[in-house]
Symmetry: C2
Subunit: 318 residues, 2 copies
């Protein structure tokens, strides 16, 4: 990677298998990866680090950058960054904010329609040559009239709700607090929400409070005709229980973009037609990446001109 030593060095932190690259703002900074020959020189003085995707950033990593003042995350979620440790070290943290929200919401609707109407399963049916042999594909489930519960009515959840309205769904939600000026029914817990709906869309942030927020009790409440879509984080759902419910027919179906041990996906799901499996790509479009790049440029510029950062995480919550 060509570097310009007149520009401030910014450390690019990523797991080797996160191959995605953003068009870093090369006119305003000097992006340095650990493979760069100049990396050892810049390590002690670098003030900014950019975390690519969900690459974990822990205290051992932070120890290597004594001058670090700011960590820029490129994901909407920041559960892979040790926020408590950043707070202790007075390191500020930003996320991708709402740059991915539209794509995330679009994909959630796509997964919901797919699970209910069996789009992927129908595609498999045709490609396997079964249409001329078996005739009609079994009836699927209608979307209109379903009671959809949104777990986390944040930036993505709100856009999911807006998209669902013209489909004739009844929308409800759970979140840390009841939102004012929202026309949807509020339930204080995921269990209450699941008890009063038949479809859950999970799109909240992962934290100690939300880990396994979708557990055995919630899945039981959702029931045999219930479906669940998860575009948040794998660990929001107790995956072992989910697999058991799906395999035993105790849950109607699931659309899963995220998993507890990515890229590992429980193999028991591979043969189920009421499940849509997706390789954590709900937000992967060039347009979203452009938005995040713009956000990064704005944040780097703001940082070096001492202006307020965009999409900064309030670390006092952690």
């Amino acid at each position: 990677m060509a570097t310009d030593n007149n520009l401030p060095a910014i450390i690019i932190h990523r797991l080797p298998h996160f191959k995605l690259s953003f068009p870093w703002a090369k006119n305003i900074c000097n992006p340095i990866e650990s493979s760069d020959p100049l990396y050892p020189i810049h390590k002690p003085s670098a003030r900014i680090l950019i975390v690519v995707g969900p690459s974990p950033l822990n205290s051992d990593h932070l120890d290597q950058y004594p001058s670090l003042e700011c960590v820029f995350g490129t994901s909407a979620g920041v559960d892979h960054i040790d926020l408590a440790e950043c707070r202790r070290r007075n390191i500020r943290v930003t996320s991708a904010g709402s740059a991915f929200s539209e794509d995330g919401a679009d994909y959630a609707i796509g997964l919901l329609i797919d699970v209910l109407r069996r789009v992927s399963a129908g595609d498999r049916f045709v490609r396997d040559g079964l249409w001329p042999v078996q005739g009609y594909y079994p009836l699927a489930n209608k979307l209109g009239g379903r009671r959809v519960g949104i777990v986390g009515l944040g930036s993505i959840g709100s856009l999911v709700a807006k998209r669902l309205e013209p489909f004739g769904c009844t929308i409800a939600y759970t979140s840390r607090n009841k939102k004012s000026q929202v026309p949807y029914a509020y339930y204080p817990t995921a269990l209450d929400l699941a008890t009063n709906t038949d479809s859950l869309i999970v799109c909240c942030a992962l934290s100690d409070e939300t880990r396994h927020i979708i557990n055995r009790g919630v899945l039981t409440a959702l029931g045999k005709k219930g479906v669940m879509v998860n575009i948040g984080r794998g660990a929001l759902v107790d995956e072992k229980e989910l697999v058991k419910f799906l395999v035993e027919g105790e849950l109607g179906g699931a659309g899963l973009d995220v998993f507890e041990k990515e890229p590992e996906v429980p193999k028991e799901l591979f043969t189920l037609d009421n499940v849509v499996l997706s390789p954590h790509k709900a937000i992967l479009t060039p347009e979203s990446f452009d938005k995040v790049t713009e956000l990064m440029i704005a944040n780097v510029t703001a940082f070096f001109s001492n202006k307020p950062l965009l999409s900064e995480i309030n670390l006092s919550d952690y």
Copy 2:
């Protein structure tokens, strides 16, 4: 099938491989299939015939029922019924009207999201075990901001438009006539529409005028980044040209619920990840079937009490 000879006989007309059955209104009529021992007795006197799905009904069939007054179709489209011949014989024809419209519109949105965001292809990627091997799935395309053209702004097309609005798409349409009180841009031909949009949703009725309405010129106008969804009828699209465009990368992608020679699907499409294939099931949900059954009951009742039929086709158009 148990019969009640006190109720009026109604002929059930279907191709043998259309295995779907509706819960016929057995309390108000006596449904007779050609396999029924009483069929030869009822044939000369039957006044009503119900056509199941897209089973063709031509003049040879009609010749067998000299007392026929009314043909009830169970599909939204009636292109499989020889309407000119029905008109000549003074036989009235009804369709499923808008009973399937919501499900058709939902499915169209599902196919559009699937083609753009590669939902089915991603599912295949995971099930084939490629995620841990190849890492990230390639970037897909954003739905928001796309210029979507609807071919046929009827019952289904209007619901498609309504559903697309919150996704941030610009909506335009073509139809026989410009509709008043519709906020979308109107183009008089499919070619004009394709020239001014990047995504087509085909959901008009099939007739002599609309056969191959999506032809080489329209596909060229749609272009390499353009996508097309067809939930209407296979013959609305010149399938040979479509396959050529897709195989040669001259069209961005397609979501196809219908084909020219169903259940045959061109095998060249089976290996393409930018194509979603579906076995003519956009409207197959129990809820839609219930609606059609209700409609049939209402129509049978109306017929025998000399009241106006519901969803009657204006045969003077044919």
